[in-house]
Amino acid sequence: MTASGAGSIERPIIECVGLTKIYDIGVEKVQALRGVTFNVRRGEFIAIMGASGSGKSTLANLLGALDKPTSGDLTIDGAAIARMSGDELARLRNRDIGFVFQQFNLLRRMTALENVLLPLNYSQSKVSDGATRAKAKLEEVGLGARLGHTPAQLSGGQQQRVAIARALINNPNIILADEPTGALDTHTSHEIMRLFSTLHAKGLTVIVITHEPDIAGYAERLLQFRDGKLISDCRQDIQQDNRQDNLALAAGGEP
C-alpha cells in the first residue's frame, strides 16, 4: 500500500504534541482536550476509547482535519494542520484520510457506486478510471454485486461497507472511523471490524473511535481518554486473542 522506507526510523504518520482544544460557548470556555501527546506509526491499527465528554470526538475531528487545535502541534502525513488553509485541509481530507461515520452518511438519492465516486468530484487531479476504481473498491468490501443499489435497498452493514469503499476510493493512508459500529447489531459490527482488520493487514493505518471494549479489541493499540486527557496508551496482546476469536466467529457466521 505505502512505500515504507527501508530504515526502521520512519516518521510517524500522525504526530500529536500537547494538543489542546477549547470551545468558546459564549458564557464559558469548555476545554475538550488538555494537552494530548502521542504518535501513530504508519500501518498501525488503533482504537480510541473513552466515555462521552472524554474528548475522543474532538480528537477525531482534529485527526480528520475537520478542525484545528487551539494549541499544540498536529502533523498528519508530514503536514502541519495548524498552518494549513481551508483548501489545503480539504485536499488532505480528500486524498489522505478516509472517513467512516456511525450513520454511514451515504447520499440517499445515489447508488452505491455513485456514493463511492463522490470524493472523486473533489479531487484536484483528474481521475479517468473512477468507475473502474470504484467497482474495485466495492468488490474489496464485498459488495461487487450491489453497485446499482441505493442506500434504502441495502442493510446497515452493507451501507457501512459502501461508506468504507467511499473512504478507500482515493487510496488514502489513513482510515478514520468514528463509532463505525454504533448503528449496527453485534454480528454486523464484528463483520465490519473484520473488514477493518483486513484493510490494516493490507498496510493501511486504521483509527477507530469507539466506546465498546470488544470493538476496541480488534485494534493492536488502545488509547484511552478521560476528561480531555490521554490516560492510557497500551498495546493489546490479550485482546488480540479476543480478536482472533471474533474473527473466527465472524468467518463462521458468513453465509
Partner: protein, 406 residues
C-alpha cells in the same frame, strides 16, 4: 468540482423535488414570459406604427375648424371654404399638394349587402397627399372631379363587407339612392390608434356636394378639412405658422383672439400612440420585473430550505474533500439551473402569448434573438443574485456541525 458534475448534481437534486422546484419556478416563468410578450409586442407595435406612418404618408398637414363646443368659447362660426384652400395653395410655397375634403355618412347598398361607412369627398390630389395606392382598379382622377362623375373608390373593409370575395370594380352600388360605379379599392392600411383606416369610401368632392348629404352642412362652399403635403425637408412648424397666420388674416381674427383652426400632423398622432405604447411598455416591464423579483425571492427561499435539509450532506461532502467554493458552486449551479429551466419554460409561454397578442392586435409576430437573450440572461441573473445567499450559507457551514446535523 467540474461544471458538468455540478450540473448533474443540480439536475438530480431538482428532479428529486420536481413539484417543489416547479412551483418555485413559476414566478420566474411568468417574469420571463412577460419580458418576451412585452418585447415582442413592442417590436410588433413599432413595426406596425412604422408601416402606418409610411402608409399614411409623412409630411402631411391637416386643417380642421376648431369646434366651438369643445373650447367653451363663444364667437362667430368660422368656416373653412374652397377659397381658403385656394389661398393656401397660392400663398404657401412649401405646400406641394392640397386637397379639399367634405365628409358624411351614407348607407351603401350592393345587391343584398349594405354598409354605412364614412365617405370622404375629395380632390384627385388626395392620392398625392396621402400616397394612396389601390389594390384593385384606380383612384379618382381630375376628370372624375371636374365632371362630378358618379364613381366611388372603396376602402378594403367596405369592399369586403359589400362584395365579400367578389370583384367590386365596375360593379354599381347605390349610395343613398344614387347609383355609383366602383372604380377601385384602396390597399389595406389596417388599424391606426385602434381606428380602422379601411372603413371609408372616396367620391369626387363635386359629386358629394351635388348628390350626397354632408355632415354639418352650412354653406355651399364649406369644407370639413383641407389636407396638404408639405415639401420634404421643409420646416413644418414654420409652415404651420404660415398657414395659421394666413387663415387669421382671411378670417379677420385679431391678435390674442382664439384661433378658429387647428393645423395638425397625422404622424403626430402616431407619435402620441407611440408614447402611450411606451408608457404601457414601462408598466408591463415593471410588472415583469416585479414578477422576476418575487420569483427570485421564491428561489432564494427554496434554496435556503434545501441547504437546511441537506446540511449533513454538505458536512459529508466537506469531510470527503469539498472546498467551500465547491459547495458554493454546487448550490449556485442548482439555483441557476432552476432559473434557467424556468427561463426556457417562460420563453415558450411568452412566445405563445406574444403570438396570440400579435394575432389579436394585427401586428407582426416578432420574437427577436435579443429578447430571447435578454430573457435567458434575466433568468440566469435571478439565479445568481438570489442563489448566492443560500449557496454562501451552505459553503460557510462548519463541517463538524454540518455532519452532526440531523
Amino acid at each position: 468540482m467540474t461544471l458538468g458534475a455540478c450540473l448533474r448534481e443540480a439536475i438530480t437534486a431538482l428532479r428529486l423535488n420536481a413539484l417543489r422546484s416547479g412551483l418555485t419556478a413559476i414566478g420566474v416563468i411568468i417574469g420571463v414570459a412577460g419580458i418576451i410578450v412585452l418585447s415582442a409586442a413592442g417590436g410588433g407595435a413599432n413595426r406596425k406604427i412604422e408601416q402606418q406612418i409610411n402608409a399614411l404618408g409623412s409630411d402631411t398637414l391637416i386643417i380642421a375648424p376648431v369646434k366651438m363646443e369643445n373650447t367653451g368659447q363663444r364667437g362667430p362660426v368660422v368656416l373653412l371654404t374652397d377659397d381658403d384652400a385656394k389661398a393656401i395653395a397660392e400663398r404657401v410655397p412649401e405646400i406641394v399638394h392640397i386637397t379639399r375634403e367634405v365628409d358624411g355618412n351614407v348607407t351603401i347598398v350592393a345587391g343584398n349587402a349594405s354598409w354605412t361607412p364614412e365617405y370622404w369627398g375629395v380632390d384627385a390630389s388626395y392620392a398625392d397627399v396621402f400616397n394612396v395606392k389601390t389594390s384593385e382598379g384606380r383612384f379618382l382622377d381630375e376628370r372624375d372631379v371636374r365632371s362630378a362623375a358618379k364613381v366611388i373608390v372603396l376602402g378594403a373593409t367596405v369592399a369586403e363587407k359589400l362584395f365579400g370575395g367578389a370583384q367590386p370594380v365596375d360593379q354599381i352600388v347605390r349610395m343613398g339612392g344614387v347609383p355609383m360605379r366602383v372604380i377601385g379599392v384602396r390597399s389595406t392600411l389596417g388599424f391606426v390608434g385602434g381606428q380602422n383606416q379601411d372603413n371609408h369610401v372616396f367620391v369626387p368632392i363635386t359629386t358629394a356636394r351635388s348628390r350626397l348629404p354632408q355632415k354639418e352642412k352650412i354653406a355651399p362652399r364649406q369644407l370639413n378639412l383641407i389636407d396638404m403635403k408639405v415639401l420634404a425637408g421643409a420646416d413644418r412648424a414654420a409652415v404651420k405658422e404660415a398657414i395659421l397666420a394666413l387663415l387669421r388674416e382671411r378670417k379677420h381674427i385679431r391678435d390674442g383672439e382664439q384661433d378658429r383652426f387647428d393645423v395638425f400632423d397625422p404622424t403626430q398622432f402616431v407619435e402620441l400612440m407611440n408614447a402611450t405604447h411606451g408608457t404601457l411598455s414601462l408598466l408591463l416591464g415593471a410588472t415583469a420585473a416585479i414578477s422576476l423579483l418575487v420569483g427570485g425571492v421564491g428561489i432564494m427561499n427554496i434554496m435556503l430550505v434545501s441547504v437546511t435539509e441537506r446540511t449533513s450532506e454538505i458536512g459529508l461532502r466537506m469531510a470527503v474533500g469539498a472546498r467551500k467554493r465547491d459547495i458554493l458552486a454546487q448550490f449556485l449551479t442548482e439555483a441557476v439551473a432552476l432559473c434557467l429551466a424556468a427561463g426556457i419554460a417562460g420563453l415558450a409561454l411568452g412566445a405563445a402569448g406574444a403570438y396570440a397578442t400579435a394575432a389579436a392586435a394585427g401586428w407582426p409576430f416578432i420574437v427577436g434573438p435579443q429578447s430571447v437573450a435578454l430573457a435567458l440572461a434575466a433568468s440566469v441573473g435571478v439565479g445568481v443574485a438570489f442563489g448566492y445567499v443560500p449557496a454562501r450559507r451552505a459553503a460557510s457551514l462548519n463541517p463538524i456541525d454540518a455532519l452532526r446535523h440531523e
